[in-house]
């Protein structure tokens, strides 16, 4: 049984950041702006928040420090993504170009500033955020072991974001308008919606979530940050498409990805799996191959927001 808990928890380490970032991407694309800058935004969010952890290591610790870091990560992400929003919305720029530029800018900037501030590019931090067992809830059999032991606040924040995202997207005025902008901005415009403002909102939300995702990605898996999120921003993009731009399916896709990745990474410590004698490289490839196979069966009808990636121009039909 403990293996089940273990794999579940490991799955969460991979799945939660993917979930958060992909949900972010969803807000952007649903508003009509493709955001391939997720990787760069994650990097920036992780950078500032971990720098904060580093600088306040002597005075702060625990969940309080983490909460402030979360706010910083989200703020940074939103701010940084505003550059993308400005280019994509005000300047009607090609969204791939400005996204690529941001992806390129983020690590260079993080290294550059880290070196100026502290001389070296890696930023150390102390992880004081793990929750051994949530009071009361952790004692519930099975569920407690699964969800409330050996976990992070960020896991619950991730799940909360999922719930909130679903409600916002489908049950609120804001969500209705956002989706309209991503499908048919001219229709939205004709209905009196300020398309530009909605798109800004979408991109900024994606930035805030991607920034948070960067922090969530780094905290449980290392003790320092080296200006990279190892391609997880691009994986989140894949999860977004895999999840057909829908919150619950995105959740499914990130769990699928998280599970296969967790197994690939940890099979050697699980006797049942390591005895199979499957070469490790095959294990490493499985998440990607499996994704392709699943996509073959699920892609016939693409659910991509129709106007996503097309700069909105009032004059055009």
């Amino acid at each position: 049984m403990s293996v089940v808990y273990f794999i579940f928890q490991q799955t969460m380490f991979f799945a939660i950041p993917l979930l958060i970032v992909a949900l972010g991407g969803m807000f952007s694309e649903r508003s009509g702006v493709v955001n391939i800058a997720l990787e760069g935004i994650m990097t920036m969010g992780a950078f500032t928040s971990i720098l904060f952890l580093n600088l306040t290591a002597d005075s702060l610790s625990g969940q309080g420090q983490l909460l402030i870091a979360i706010v910083i990560a989200m703020g940074t992400g939103a701010l940084f993504s505003a550059l993308h929003a400005y280019a994509a919305i005000n300047m009607k720029a090609d969204q791939t170009i400005s996204g690529t530029a941001l992806n390129m800018f983020a690590p260079a900037f993080a290294i550059f500033i880290a070196r100026i501030i502290q001389g070296v590019q890696q930023i150390q931090f102390a992880n004081t955020f793990r929750i051994d067992s949530v009071p009361v809830l952790g004692a519930i059999p099975f569920i407690g072991d699964l969800f409330f032991k050996n976990t992070y606040l960020t896991t619950f924040i991730g799940l909360a974001i999922l719930v909130i995202a679903s409600i916002v997207l489908y049950k609120t005025k804001f969500g209705l308008r956002l989706r309209a902008c991503g499908e048919h901005p001219h229709a939205a415009d004709a209905a009196g919606i300020n398309v530009y403002r909605m798109q800004y909102a979408g991109v900024l939300i994606s930035g805030a979530l991607a920034g948070l995702g960067g922090l969530v990605f780094v905290v449980p898996t290392s003790t320092n940050f080296n200006a990279t999120v190892s391609g997880y921003g691009f994986l989140a993009l894949a999860v977004l498409i895999f999840g057909q731009w829908k919150p619950v399916k995105i959740m499914g896709a990130s769990l699928f990805f998280g599970l296969t990745k967790a197994i690939a990474a940890s099979y050697s410590g699980i006797p049942f799996l390591s005895n199979l004698g499957v070469p490790s490289y095959l294990f490493k490839m499985i998440p990607y191959i499996a994704t392709l196979v699943v996509l073959i069966f699920t892609s016939k009808n693409s659910m991509a927001p129709r106007a996503s990636g097309v700069p909105y121009d009032k004059g055009q039909r």
Binding site: I36, L83, A87, M91, K92, A93, D94, T96, I97, S98, T100, A101, L102, N103, M104, F105, P107, A108, F109, I111, F112, R115, I116, G231, F234, L235, L237, A238, I241, F242, P279, Y281, L282, K284, M285, Y288, I289, T291, L292, L295, I296, S299, K300, N301, S302, A304, G309, P311, D313, Q316
Partner: protein
């Protein structure tokens, strides 16, 4: 009615505008971090590669070669309506094909390198065709398929190189040296650029750019590929086999990326396939190069050289107290502002409208076509 087709310079002008802004930002960053060395440092970025004689220039061309090709790969796919974010995987698979032939087939003599290069093209083409096939027949988004293929390619290459003794140099955890006959000949470039690493690969890259330009703009095949990119339904209506076009587009893009890998790893500079679980950055740099070159083959050629030139400038910048990441920042800013092309074009159009008489003005329609 009788409008003679005029060459559109607005793309180039907006790129130059972006470059100027990028350099300006670079200068500001230099000044903020160390103002005393800012101007000499800036000067070095601009002239570093030129002040080291022909060798420096040769090095620029050498570093430009792979990114020109991955840029062409990405740019070509863009023109046909596909986003090839999989250049990285195609690149490393191509490199593997070349290295495999370079190490294993020792009896080909003087054509050895040609066969190795062809192997890289073939391998890259196969890798690129997979997202194409998936898109054409199963409507799988090529972006996600390409991302997956990047990782699969990287792991597959590492697995094979590491697992197959004749290829693996276990002292250095990388592939073995390729046979000397598999190295790309210098094609006379060593005479012009003595001491530098530049080789025939650069010439091959230029030829590739020209071929792609001709295919895209002058041939019926290019007409079909672009038509499918713009409107799949209308292409089908016109009797174009749109599935085949999509597959061919991705295959060609993959082949060009594969070629990039082959040429780099056969350059005879001591480059080996390292067993590191990391995606090849050349593929992603290709995106930047393609975009800066407005996806135009000749633009990409210059963009590749320009980025290599800046990177070389950054290398020489190490003679000062700056970290070389400044170059990446400058390039990122340049690319960011090159995204403003549409606005710049509109401004140019407005400007020239005031000067010229009506009727000969280019429409400010939607361009960029990704």
């Amino acid at each position: 009615m009788k409008n003679k087709k005029q060459i559109d310079f607005t793309g180039a002008i907006s790129s130059i505008f972006a470059i100027l802004i990028g350099l300006l930002v670079g200068l500001i960053v230099l000044m903020l971090s160390n103002y005393r060395q800012a101007f000499p440092g800036f000067f070095t970025i601009l002239t570093g590669s030129l002040t080291h004689g022909m060798k420096g220039v040769g090095q620029v061309f050498y570093y430009a070669t792979p990114i020109i090709l991955t840029g062409l790969s990405v740019g070509f796919a863009f023109k046909t309506g596909l986003f090839n974010i999989g250049a990285s995987g195609q690149f490393i698979i191509g490199a593997f094909g070349a290295v495999y032939v370079g190490i294993m087939f020792k009896n080909f003599g003087s054509v050895h390198w040609i066969i190795a290069v062809l192997a890289s093209v073939l391998f890259g083409a196969i890798w690129g065709s997979v997202p194409g096939i998936l898109k054409a027949y199963f409507n799988v988004n090529e972006v996600i398929a390409s991302i997956m293929m990047n990782y699969i390619g990287m792991y597959a290459v590492n697995w094979t190189v590491k697992g197959y003794k004749p290829l693996f140099n276990n002292l250095r955890n990388e592939s073995k040296n390729v046979a000397a006959t598999a190295e790309i000949p210098k094609m006379g470039l060593d005479v012009i650029f003595p001491g530098s690493s530049v080789n025939g690969g650069f010439i091959i890259a230029i030829i590739t750019a020209i071929i792609i330009f001709i295919v895209l703009n002058k041939t019926a095949f290019g007409y079909e590929l672009k038509a499918v990119g713009y409107n799949r339904n209308a292409s089908k209506y016109a009797g174009i086999n749109e599935k085949k076009s999509i597959i061919l587009s991705m295959t060609i893009a993959g082949a060009v990326s594969g070629l990039a890998g082959g040429l780099l790893y056969l350059a005879g500079t001591g480059k080996h396939i390292e067993i590191v679980d990391k995606l090849a950055p050349e593929g992603f740099n290709g995106i930047s190069v393609a975009l800066l070159g407005v996806c135009h083959p000749i633009g990409i050629l210059f963009a590749g050289i320009f980025i290599a030139y800046l990177t070389a400038g950054g290398f020489y910048l190490q003679l000062f107290e700056f970290s070389t990441e400044i170059i990446d920042i400058i390039i990122a800013v340049i690319i960011y502002f090159s995204a403003f092309a549409l606005i710049v074009k509109t401004m140019i159009a407005k400007f020239s409208k005031r000067k010229e008489s009506k009727g000969s003005i280019k429409a400010s329609g939607s361009e960029g076509g990704i």
